[in-house]
């Protein structure tokens, strides 16, 4: 935590917005149940924060969540046609 004397006059960053780990806001964590996943990648498509990545659709790799930026909005779980994504409370982790 910086003092007011240490900070710049107005917020100025020499890094882009990825430096701010917005995943810290998350209350609900999406967790994949791999055996239910049909590799439709709807979750990847709807994620508003581009926090879901798929390494190789051709090889049917599983979607992976970047929890540094996932805010737990739950869109992926809501849209998943197979209910393969479970929203778990962070405190329970």
């Amino acid at each position: 935590m910086k003092t007011y004397q240490e900070i710049t006059i107005t917020p100025i960053n020499n890094v882009d917005s990825r430096a701010v780990k917005t995943g810290a806001w998350r209350t609900w964590r999406p967790v994949l149940i791999p055996e239910k996943c049909i590799h439709c990648y709807k979750c990847w498509k709807v994620c508003p924060d581009v926090a879901i990545s798929v390494e190789s659709p051709e090889e049917k790799s599983l979607p992976v969540w970047d929890y540094d930026y996932c805010k737990g909005c739950g869109l992926c779980a809501f849209e998943c046609p197979k209910d393969a994504i479970e929203m778990q409370r962070e405190v329970d982790q």
Binding site: Y4, I9, T10, P11, N13, V15, S17, V20, A24
Partner: protein, 398 residues
């Protein structure tokens, strides 16, 4: 060189003398002629600036903010509903610590639709982090612009500022105005040097997200900068006097207040009418004075405390009403005096809303009322809508 010009022409000439690199504005009555005069200056080549035409006041302010972020001097002008449309961007300019300067022509908020003077448009921008100066005459409009850039661009300040001029009484009324020499203005107001600015070769993120653990600290820095404005205004006013021979009394412009027993306090052109009446009453031996609230933000609470210690009563005249409470100045003055041992009656007179004429006879009536309060030490009521037609309005209020 002395010229007879309107307040809006004074504002346009002021803009020309201060040489903003970027001007962006959207026309609105009664500010329109400022935009037109500046367009003339750009067209005839006498003002070298990038004049950005936009589709709204919100965009005008956004253009000024962007340009200011690149480290150049910017100017805009607006009025009333245009200022209200800018509101969101006003907070951005101060938070980003950009010394954007603007002239606002005070005009009433509708409905009822009105193009005439009222200060509520300015009051509604009170907490935006802008410096607010209310001009009393056309000369002060021009001079305040030159001073405002100097104050805002100081690295101990770096805040935006607006100069308010009363609709029509200043904007469209011609008065003799001394136009300073360009060389003198250049000497007084050197080129703006930004502390930090956007640089395409060295990209930085501006105004980015700050987590709750640091937001307060950034806000506190704005509060400190605004406090620095107080002494800067007095310093710049003194410097201005040395070079141009004119002074405006810094934060609170006191007129015949030294031995005054009761004074009127308020802003804008009504102050000129009060000045006249103060002179008339002084000739009759009445100890009256005027305290003109020249600077509204930062608020001159220390100056007001000092004044309140030497008088028996203060009457506040204001061309705005803060719905749900009282006049906005009254509320602030009450706040300034509460944590002191000063206990004098203060009465709020709401006058001249939406351009209703305020004449010397009205000011006489207010001073008469205030004299009774000063002599008795008793306040009949805190708030009066002076001249309100309630079916039995007394003659002196008509």
């Amino acid at each position: 060189m002395r010229k007879v010009v309107t307040g809006n022409m004074a504002a346009a000439i002021g803009a020309k003398l201060c040489k903003p690199d970027v001007i962006s504005a959207y026309p609105i009555t009664p500010q329109t002629t400022i935009v037109e005069y500046i367009a003339d200056f750009v067209a005839d080549g006498s003002l070298k600036t990038q004049y950005v035409k936009v589709e709204s006041e919100h965009s005008a302010m956004a253009a000024c903010i962007s340009a200011s972020n690149l480290g150049v001097r910017t100017f805009t002008a607006t009025s009333s509903h245009g200022l209200l449309l800018m509101h969101e961007m006003l907070g951005w300019a101060s938070g980003a610590r950009l010394p954007v300067v603007m002239v606002n022509v005070n005009r009433a908020i509708g409905p009822p639709w009105s193009v005439w003077v009222d200060h509520l448009d300015a009051i509604m921008q009170r907490d935006t982090g802008w410096i607010h100066i209310f001009a009393e005459n056309n000369q002060e409009v021009l001079d305040s612009m030159i001073m405002m850039y100097k104050i805002c661009e100081d690295h101990d300040v770096l805040l935006p500022g607006m100069i308010h001029e009363d609709a029509f009484y200043l904007s469209h009324t011609s008065e003799p105005v001394d136009i300073p020499d360009q060389s003198k203005v250049d000497e007084f107001l050197p080129k703006y040097k930004a502390l930090v600015k956007m640089d395409l070769d060295n990209p930085l993120g501006f105004g980015s997200l700050v987590m709750p653990d640091n937001y307060m600290e950034f806000r506190y820095k704005i509060a400190l900068a605004m406090d620095n404005v107080r002494e800067k205004i007095i310093e710049v006013d003194a410097d201005f006097k040395r070079l141009f021979g004119r002074s405006y009394g810094g934060m609170l412009d006191l007129y015949r207040c030294e031995d005054a027993e009761y004074v009127l306090l308020g802003a804008g052109t009504t102050a000129s009418t009060v000045r006249e009446v103060v002179d008339e009453l002084r000739e009759q031996g009445k100890k009256v004075g005027l305290a003109r609230l020249r600077v509204f933000r930062p608020f001159p609470y220390e100056e007001i405390r000092k004044l309140a210690r030497s008088v028996k009563a203060i009457g506040v005249f204001e061309r705005a009403f803060a719905f749900g409470y009282m006049g906005p100045f009254m509320a602030e003055i009450g706040g300034a005096l509460y944590n002191t041992d000063i206990r004098i009656p203060i009465k709020d007179y709401i006058i001249g809303l939406g351009g209703r004429d305020v004449r010397t006879k009205h000011i006489h009536a207010i001073f008469n009322d205030l004299e009774k309060i000063a002599n008795s030490g008793k306040l009949d009521k805190e708030l009066k809508w002076f001249g309100l037609n309630d079916g039995n309005r007394p003659e002196e209020e008509m």
